[in-house]
Amino acid sequence: MTAKDLSKALNYSISATGNMEGTVTDAYVGDLLSDVMGNASTDSVLITIQAHKNTVAVASLIGCPVIILCNGRSAPADMVEAAESNGITLLETTDTQYKAACRVATLLGSI
């Protein structure tokens, strides 16, 4: 599904719109960015609590069109700016990573 449809269905708070036309086919839950870099697949939603701009750089490197920040963590201004300039949709929620992952999985038809 597109980043646009996913964002709409999740109804999480949108901190950066990014390129809403990106395709999402998978998801990755991770907080160690070195692990994310090694294991996340392209066109994944990154579900994380790492609220800083390096997360955007890593997402961009892999080709993750959407980042979901969980546990109420908020993106600082430089992270939002980085997301916008890299065309990445940045969502925020108070949901835990487990809850967010379950919701994404349902929407992607994985479960």
Binding site: L32, L33, M37, Q50, A57, L61
Partner: protein, 214 residues
């Protein structure tokens, strides 16, 4: 920030000892070493290692040779992926004057395969000083990533705020600038009571707790 600029600025701001600790590498230490000699400041040669737990640890050495030797070893523990300047900035190697003499192709952004414990063992074995960096920072620190400070033979522990609220197992807490830009140089520092300005004397001051804060 050029290695020579670090040496000059540190000297101008009244620091007696300054360490250069680039992220996961020491390729700019030779230029830094030259600069420190010329400027007349005591330089410590190190790197900020990103461990497998993504904890930053300051690995410090007395001599340039020891540091470069450790750098060669560290490079073998880093993941091999190509660097993206667009996303992570340039990885330049410069000479004393700041002219670019090379670029690092291999990304320094990843995590070493070394754990905190293994790194502590390696640095101590090589005669260096190992100091967990900014333990109370909300990311890339022992407290953020592990939730506690493991009881290991560190030379000291670096914190942003004094006093450090975590259990530091009797180790001396030190403060440093973690300067990424010129303006940051000397923004945080501490005093060490030493007989002479030098690496071993500094190590002794840390061991004995002869450190005070501004």
């Amino acid at each position: 920030m050029l290695p020579a600029v670090l040496a000059i600025e540190a000297f101008d701001r009244g620091l007696d000892i300054v360490a250069l600790t680039d992220h996961n590498n020491g390729r700019n230490l030779p230029a830094f070493s030259e600069a420190c000699s010329i400027v007349g400041i005591c330089g410590i040669y190190g790197m900020e290692v990103n461990t497998i737990e993504e904890v930053h640890m300051l690995s410090l050495f007395e001599t340039l040779d020891e540091a470069m030797d450790f750098n060669d070893y560290l490079e073998t523990t880093l993941p091999r992926f190509k660097h993206s300047s667009k996303l992570f900035g340039d990885q330049m190697i410069v000479d004393l004057e700041g002219n670019e003499i090379g670029q690092l192709d291999m990304s320094l952004y990843g995590a070493s395969s070394l754990s905190v414990e293994k790194l502590v063992e390696q640095v101590n074995h090589r005669g260096g000083m190992i100091i967990p960096a900014h333990v109370d920072r909300p990311s890339d620190s022992l407290l953020a990533n592990l939730g506690f400070i493991p009881d290991l033979p560190y030379s000291a522990i670096e914190a942003i705020r004094i006093p450090c609220e975590a259990d530091v197992h009797g180790k001396t807490v030190v403060q440093g600038s973690d300067a990424h830009y010129i303006e940051h140089i000397g923004r945080r520092f501490c005093y060490a009571e030493v007989e002479q300005v030098g690496f071993q004397h500094l190590r002794k001051a840390f061991l004995l707790g002869n450190v005070s804060y501004r």
